[in-house]
């Protein structure tokens, strides 16, 4: 039995088309989560439409009345061949008696891997949020919960959900972008990949580093500025493919582009930015060590 570990986010919402209206609807919901006070734990209630459980701005659980797939169904499909419905229901009954979350029980029994459970929860929560957006759900209230303790391994940032939706545009491209991010970002940096798409009015985020906890609005503004920077750079050098901008004494934004995909890396330290930029420099052809000397000789002889 093979658990579908680490399934790329691009496969998560295969049943949902990403159109501009849907993306803006999802953005609206994600902004609600980002705007919660730091550390807030509780449930955003959308009346009869559903709810989103949040802990410290991370999405732990979401449910929507209009969802097509339930978590147990997604979990069943995490294995090859799929678990039988009877096996899941039996486990569910046992969990109900002991009060154990079914996901954890599946992991403990070895039926589903931790990565498989995370992928299933990601898909479930993503589909729920998309469904809430599709139904135009409006938040009625946020109910604070005094009890915390969701496993951070199974909680998701708003950026991750945004990227999950954006990845629908071109799953193969999103998977490649995720791989590029994973292989390029260094310690003390987080990042995202985006494209320019008619499916969204601004940048379409298609992959994020799992540690990226930026608010979606801030991430999109950073992407928009980066897009503009590359556009403007064409004025003086059409071959600009990377840039680094200091945001303060330590924080630095590094951006690069490759195969029509643009990347933003946000570094918390100067060494991180230096390492990331060094990786970019290594991509430039190493032919510029020898300079044309004509003008210089003329200048130095005067």
């Amino acid at each position: 039995m093979n658990a579908a570990e680490g399934a790329p986010s691009s496969r998560m919402l295969s049943s949902i088309p990403a159109n501009p209206g849907l993306i803006s609807g999802v953005l609206r919901l994600l902004e609600l989560i980002d705007d919660l006070p730091r550390g807030a734990t509780g449930a955003l209630h959308f009346g009869d439409e559903g709810m989103i459980l949040v802990e410290s701005k991370k999405i732990c659980w979401a449910v929507s009345r209009g969802m097509r797939l339930r978590l147990t169904e997604i979990l069943r499909r995490q294995t090859t061949p799929p678990l039988t419905r009877e096996a899941v229901e039996e486990l569910y009954r046992a969990c109900k008696q002991t009060g154990t979350p079914i996901g954890e029980a599946l992991v403990a029994s070895g039926v589903v891997s931790e990565a498989g459970l995370r992928a299933a929860l990601f898909k479930h929560n993503g589909e729920a949020i998309v469904s809430l957006a599709q139904n135009g759900a409006s938040v009625e209230r946020f109910v604070n919960h005094s009890k915390t303790g969701y496993d951070p391994k199974f909680a998701f940032s708003s950026c991750e959900v945004l990227a999950m939706l954006g990845a629908r545009d071109d799953p193969a491209r999103a998977a490649a972008a995720q791989s590029e991010l994973d292989g390029t970002l260094v310690q003390d940096s987080v990042g995202a990949a985006f494209v320019r798409s008619s499916r969204s009015s601004g940048p379409l985020v298609i992959a994020v580093d799992s540690a990226c906890g930026l608010a979606v609005t801030d991430l999109l503004q950073a992407c928009t500025w980066v897009s503009g920077l590359f556009d403007v750079a064409r004025t003086f050098d059409p071959d600009v493919f990377a840039a680094r901008a200091a945001l303060g004494d330590r924080a630095t934004l590094v951006t690069w582009r490759s195969n029509e995909v643009e990347y933003v890396g946000l570094c918390a330290s100067r060494p991180a930015a230096a390492r990331l930029m060094s990786r970019m420099a290594q991509r430039a052809p190493r032919t510029s060590g020898v300079m044309a000397l004509g003008v210089r000789q003329e200048t130095s002889s005067t």
């Binding site: 608010a215 950073a222 003086f236 840039a243 330590r250 570094c267 420099a281 430039a284 190493r286 060590g289």
Partner: protein, 134 residues
């Protein structure tokens, strides 16, 4: 205020490669060079770089920059952006806003795309010299 980048075309060669830097000082609000570039003649590349200053720096909403800096647990700087470096296959371009001359930036273009550190050390030395000027 008179600010002119010091020295003509900087020439240096070592094991790491050579850097050949053209300097100029530009107004970040208008994109106009505030003095002739250090190159022997007109330098369209640095003039075009200067022309982009208003668009690069003038349209930035400081809010998201501050929030991102805070998220990275860093203090935001005086300017929306500090040093800005752009890398192409053949060139390094640097825009360095001056602290003591608000709204003015040192611009540098070098063909040593494989020697960023060398270029930056020379840019920083040039900036230090400019900052000392009244």
């Amino acid at each position: 205020m008179k600010l002119v980048a010091q020295g003509a075309v900087v020439k240096r060669a070592d094991d790491a490669g050579a850097s050949d830097i053209t300097w100029a000082v530009g107004c970040m609000r208008t994109g106009v060079l505030l003095g002739p570039p250090s190159s022997a003649g007109p330098n369209p590349q640095i003039e075009n770089l200067a022309a982009t200053l208003p668009e690069v720096f003038g349209t930035v909403d400081a809010g998201w920059l501050e929030r991102i800096a805070a998220q990275l647990e860093a203090e935001p700087g005086d300017h929306p952006f500090g040093e800005l470096l752009l890398l192409s296959e053949q060139h390094v371009h640097v825009i360095q806003p001056l602290r003591n001359h608000r709204g003015v930036a040192l611009l540098a273009v070098s063909g040593a795309a494989n020697a960023i550190g060398l270029v930056l050390s020379q840019v920083h030395a040039q900036v230090a010299a400019l900052e000392r000027e009244e």
